[in-house]
């Protein structure tokens, strides 16, 4: 019926194919940038194998190359990476200096998203140093820079939830973590989804709502297992044990599983925490279930 249109159809197909073939090829990167990428990927490999000394060398080389061609994204990225490596090497001042360079943006070449990331990392560093006030200030800065929406929105909400939980404000923590969860679910970020779920579960435990906490913690455990993150698996199991504190046999099982994971991973802090939790169950139970997360003695 439409046989007379067949040549037109072929012609249109040929044009479509030609048009798509004429599209500009992906931009080739310069040999210098190729070098920077090489060093950066090398640094990542070293970092993943916990060889932080060599990671430091590689990232510094990448940074040097990026600086020599003023590759702003590369400079910011490698400075942020270096901050993490310095932190792993317990060189907090050097980490802060790297982050300050990005956040202060003296050359005006960095983007807001990079400054937000720097502010957030600084908040986490201050939190790890138990300087909670400074940590709160820096996460606020990150929040202000982020505005209504930014790529790090979910991360900021999770960190804020964590800080709220540490300040014994479980309701605020639950609210923030839920908002973070919805952001991360849209972005399909499994590890952040698990973080949000764990925070919600922990907040419910703080509120002594074990039944509400358990589904969140179980889901977090599953996600962490899928990604193979031993420290987080151990913590999920520990929190699940606390959620089952009323049924002491179940709690003991979870604590033992937590202990086994920490021992296998060589996580001494997790191991100590699990042993303490086991002791608390087997002893006269002086602690409340939610108190274990706060190192009930």
């Amino acid at each position: 019926m439409f046989n007379h249109l067949r040549p037109v159809k072929y012609l249109l197909m040929a044009m479509a194919v030609t048009a798509s073939g004429c599209g500009s090829p992906p931009a080739k990167i310069s040999p210098m940038l190729e070098n920077a990428v090489g060093y950066n990927l090398q640094g990542k490999q070293f970092s993943q194998s916990k060889d932080y000394r060599n990671a430091l060398i590689s990232y510094n080389k990448a940074l040097q190359v990026d600086r020599s061609i003023e590759n702003a994204d590369g400079i910011a990225l490698n400075l942020l990476n270096l901050a993490q490596i310095y932190l792993a090497l317990n060189q907090v001042d050097a980490a802060q200096a790297s982050l300050d360079e990005v956040f202060n943006n003296a050359t005006g070449i960095f983007q807001a998203s990079q400054q937000i990331q720097a502010a957030m990392q600084k908040a986490l560093i201050f939190n790890s140093l138990s300087q909670h006030k400074l940590a709160g200030e820096w996460i606020s800065r990150a929040n202000v820079l982020c505005g209504a929406s930014c790529a790090q929105r979910g991360l900021i909400l999770n960190v804020q939830a964590r800080f709220a939980l540490d300040e014994q404000q479980p309701d605020i923590a639950i609210d923030l973590a839920h908002r973070a969860l919805s952001v991360h679910q849209k972005e399909m970020l499994s590890h952040e989804i698990a973080n949000s779920l764990r925070l919600i579960g922990e907040a419910h435990l703080d509120k002594q709502l074990s039944d509400k906490a358990i589904p969140f913690l179980q889901e977090a455990l599953q996600l962490d297992k899928n990604q193979g993150l031993p420290a987080r698996i151990s913590l999920d199991l520990l929190l699940l044990g606390m959620a089952h504190k009323n049924i002491s046999d179940h709690a003991v099982v979870f604590f033992r599983r937590s202990l086994a994971v920490s021992q296998a991973a060589g996580d001494l802090v997790g191991e100590q925490r699990a042993i303490r939790a086991l002791d608390s169950v087997t002893s006269a139970r002086k602690c409340q279930p939610n108190e274990l997360t706060r190192q009930c003695n």
């Binding site: 798509s20 992906p26 990542k44 991360l155 973080n195 802090v269 997360t293």
Partner: protein, 302 residues
């Protein structure tokens, strides 16, 4: 006639006596001069003085030498009011060029039973010669008794050591005596072993003969087999050489071909990467961030 003869013998007698005595005087004079010359009475001498604690070994007329040459002698020896002995020596002035301000005189004996002499050591030629009547520093060499004392001092500990060694050798409980006893035991044991070996030797020889016979019987076969094996190896090597020689010019070509193939493959892959639609599927390499997440490790339990 007898009178005339007597007159002839006494004729000019006084003249004859004068000539005789004159000749004798001349002969004495010549002899005296020769002696004086021989005694260096006509050589110009320089006087030098030496001072010593005592005169032992020094006597008048003693030779003074330099570099083994006799250049003078001791003229006199006298005691000074300060109880020192002053020795006056005369040195031939011709040799004074060797006796400079840093020269030293030393008394020593030539050989074990030789004469004592005063030896002057030549001084530095940059310095001026000593003046007439100058004082030459003097010291005594070791005499025989002193040498003997020194020698005795050195030999004494050696002799003591030898004495102790001899005592150690003679000590029945000492190492030497015990070693000798052990040697005796070893010798006895060796003797018994030798006897034992001697008793077994015929049997061993029989066995050796038997083994030799076996080897002799088997050896030709083994040699034949070995020859065959060597022949096979030689043949295989020869084949290998031929194969290698035949393919020698082909191997580099094969290698080059392989390289070219790899290069071509790379070019093709690069080309495919650049070609549509593959180029749209391959993302250019990018620098990657380390994972930053909101996970906060709970503080360690206290």
């Amino acid at each position: 006639m007898q009178q005339s003869l007597a007159d002839n013998r006494y004729h000019r007698l006084g003249k004859k006596i004068f000539i005789f005595f004159a000749g004798a005087v001349v002969l004495v004079a010549v002899f005296s001069l020769a002696t004086a010359y021989k005694q260096d009475y006509f050589t110009k001498m320089t006087t030098l003085y030496l001072f010593s604690d005592n005169a032992t070994g020094i006597k008048r007329g003693m030779a003074v030498k330099i570099l083994g040459f006799n250049i003078g002698e001791v003229e006199s020896i006298a005691i000074e009011p300060n109880a020192k002995v002053r020795v006056k020596i005369a040195v031939q002035s011709d040799y004074m060029r060797f006796v400079t301000l840093d020269s030293r005189a030393k008394l020593f004996k030539e050989g074990m039973i030789g004469e004592s002499v005063i030896e002057i050591t030549p001084g530095s030629q940059e310095l001026r010669p000593m003046a007439h009547n100058a004082v030459l520093p003097f010291s005594r060499g070791h005499d025989l008794s002193e040498i003997a004392d020194e020698l005795y001092g050195e030999i004494k500990p050696v002799l003591k050591g030898v004495g102790r060694a001899v005592a150690a050798v003679n000590d029945p409980e000492g190492d030497v005596q015990q070693s000798l006893r052990n040697m005796n035991k070893i010798s006895k044991n060796a003797l018994s072993i030798t006897e034992d070996v001697a008793s077994r030797l015929p049997r061993l020889l029989d066995e050796a003969e038997s083994i030799t016979k076996t080897v002799n019987d088997g050896l030709p076969v083994m040699i034949e087999n070995s020859k065959q094996s060597l022949e096979n190896i030689r043949s295989a090597t020869s084949d290998l050489k031929q194969i290698t020689a035949a393919s020698a010019h082909e191997i580099p070509q094969v290698l080059q071909g392989g390289q070219a193939l790899v290069k071509d493959s790379r070019s093709i892959v690069d080309g495919v990467k650049e070609a549509w639609p593959v180029r749209n599927m391959i993302a250019p390499p990018q620098e990657q961030p380390l994972l930053i997440d909101s996970y906060v490790q709970p503080p360690p339990p206290r």
